[in-house]
């Protein structure tokens, strides 16, 4: 019975995701921001990374650029893109209409998010391969940490996109409301400047930002220099953000436009 219910739920999410994927393919703006921006930005980070003094950090240009590039992908292809999608569907009354049917709330959010999350996943894999080939990054020493980091990153970004959508009134203003997290993450989450290069006190604050544990885990996946003890902190931080996101969405997500 429950297996059948699960199968039906999966079928519903699939039907919704398929429609979203069609819509994704028809929106040129979405394709540009979601596909090209994250693939182009890392190139500029590379020139900065080449000037960094990385001695004694255990890092090289590759292990600075690659986690940052994946971070960009999460921020633009997943987070920013999804804020716009959620707001757009809400303002078109699509979310309200979907809620009249058998779909559960979580299924609606998941189905809507699936194309963007998949884009983020595929981009990350492409970036990993590209960096390995072009920047002579060695194979990851602890790939399970990189995978864990990426999955947590996708979950946190999708959830925070739904939270941001709750405080966003129009698709146009989504570009503004998404900005704070994008800026903070780019500066403070180790995407452009590794935390290892920051003063200790600032670094310990930055460790609590939503994307920092994600970048830390992905970087640790490649360097293999995170002990089990050092892994617990980032994992707990990421899980805390996931739980906070789930709570906030359940409590504040807006399913229809303000009257």
């Amino acid at each position: 019975m429950s297996a059948m219910a699960d199968r039906m739920a999966a079928g519903r999410v699939k039907a919704l995701a398929r429609a979203e994927l069609t819509l994704f393919g028809r929106s040129k703006g979405m394709i540009v921001t979601a596909v090209f921006v994250p693939l182009v930005l890392p190139v500029s980070v590379r020139t900065v990374a080449e000037d960094m003094d990385l001695k004694g950090t255990g890092l090289n240009v590759g292990t600075v650029v690659l986690p940052g590039a994946i971070g960009f992908s999460l921020l633009f292809a997943v987070y920013s893109a999804l804020v716009g999608v959620y707001v757009g569907r809400r303002e078109e009354l699509v979310l309200k209409r979907l809620r009249t049917g058998e779909l559960r709330d979580g299924e609606i959010l998941a189905g809507t998010a699936l194309p963007a999350v998949t884009t983020g996943l595929v981009q990350s894999l492409v970036l990993a391969v590209a960096c390995t080939v072009l920047l002579d990054v060695p194979a990851p020493k602890a790939p399970h940490l990189a995978v864990l980091g990426l999955l947590l990153g996708l979950a946190v970004c999708a959830l925070l996109a739904a939270v941001t959508a709750s405080v966003t009134r129009t698709v146009e203003s989504a570009q503004v409301t998404a900005l704070p997290l994008v800026m903070v993450a780019m500066v403070g989450s180790g995407m452009t400047v590794p935390l290892e290069l920051l003063p200790d006190r600032m670094a310990s604050v930055c460790e609590l930002l939503p994307l920092t544990p994600v970048i830390t885990l992905i970087r640790g996946g490649w360097t293999g220099e995170l002990s089990v003890y050092e892994t617990i902190g980032p994992v707990l931080t990421a899980l805390a953000w996931t739980a906070a996101g789930v709570f906030a969405v359940g409590r504040w997500f807006r399913w229809e436009p303000r009257r």
């Binding site: 039906m8 079928g11 519903r12 699939k14 039907a15 919704l16 398929r18 429609a19 069609t22 819509l23 028809r26 929106s27 569907r89 078109e92 009354l93 699509v94 979310l95 309200k96 209409r97 979907l98 809620r99 009249t100 049917g101 058998e102 779909l103 559960r104 009257r259």
Partner: protein, 309 residues
């Protein structure tokens, strides 16, 4: 399932919006299986606010709703597979085609009809490859109806199903609703078209300012209303020249310039007396209009309370 039970039961239902506005102020009614029930009212009367509670989109601020024996909000999973909903405004991504929209929705409904069959029911098959944004308002309403019918629902909620449709589209929708009723579907619809309620509904309720002002079959609702006779007074005659109105069974009268309007529950008697009087006096009653009580009378009478209140 016991066929005698009410499919929809509403008891002392209330809905209050965030700003404190009380849109639904304690209404009760029930709808039996296979019945078409219409909620009639002016804009802002509380129709949509009520239907959304029945659809389970929001919890009531007070009172109780049961659809097929379940709370449609708290027991969503038990109710939704058996209901079909058409919102007042369809929410469809504008860049999907009609067929893609129907296919998506079909994937989200258990025991769905083939999408093409649902589109066929509303006559949209030849528009299958058209994007939603290119549809006319009426076509969008029909697409919404098709989606509501995809899951072969036992209970159908239609919020203003014919708004924006042309006369032909409206007739088609009415025929479809009748056919669904004949096959056992229970239908709850809202409308501000009186003829729609009169022609389609087995029973109806007129909502006014969040309360039910009258409810019953269309015949019962109109029976409570007086009939109307109006005509122009001939030259040289005054109201006093008519037979005494009170004795005729006239409830009230008004004179507007030379036009006289009489309201009565004894239409035949009053009309006969007036015509006999005119015949004896040898005068012609211009603009003579004799009409039975109608839903329109009832509706306008209730809507007018707003001004009087």
């Amino acid at each position: 399932m016991d066929t005698n039970t009410n499919v929809i039961e509403v008891t002392d239902l209330r809905r209050v919006y965030g700003g404190g506005f009380e849109a639904v102020r304690g209404i009760s009614f029930s709808v039996a299986r296979g019945e078409v029930f219409a909620l009639l009212g002016t804009n802002g009367a509380g129709k949509t606010s009520t239907v959304e509670l029945l659809e389970g989109l929001a919890p009531p601020a007070g009172g109780r709703v049961r659809v097929l024996g379940h709370d449609p909000y708290a027991e969503r999973a038990a109710v939704r597979p058996r209901t079909g909903v058409m919102l007042q405004e369809g929410g469809f991504p504008s860049e999907l085609t009609v067929a893609e929209t129907a296919r998506m929705w079909a994937g989200c409904v258990s025991g769905a009809r083939p999408p093409a069959e649902a589109l066929e029911l509303v006559g949209l098959v030849r528009r299958s490859d058209v994007r939603v944004k290119q549809l006319s308002g009426g076509e969008r309403r029909r697409l919404d109806l098709a989606l509501a019918l995809l899951g072969r629902p036992e209970v159908l909620f239609l919020d203003e199903p014919t708004t924006g449709l042309d006369a032909e589209g409206r007739r088609d929708t009415w025929e479809l609703v009748r056919a669904l009723r004949d096959s056992g579907t229970t239908v709850l619809l809202t409308t501000h078209y009186l003829e729609e309620a009169e022609g389609l509904a087995d029973r109806l309720a007129i909502l006014h300012e969040g309360r039910i002002a009258v409810t019953g079959t269309p015949a019962e609702v109109t029976a409570g209303q007086p009939s109307r006779i109006s005509f122009e007074l001939p030259e040289g005659y005054f109201l006093g020249g008519l037979p005494p109105l009170g004795e005729l069974g006239v409830l009230s009268h008004e004179v507007d310039g030379r036009v006289v309007r009489l309201r009565t529950r004894e239409l035949q008697r009053v009309a006969t007396e007036v015509l006999v009087w005119a015949s004896r006096a040898g005068v012609e009653l211009r603009g003579l209009d004799v009409r039975s009580a109608s839903l329109e009378e009832a509706f306008l009478g209730i809507a007018a309370q707003e001004v009087g209140a």
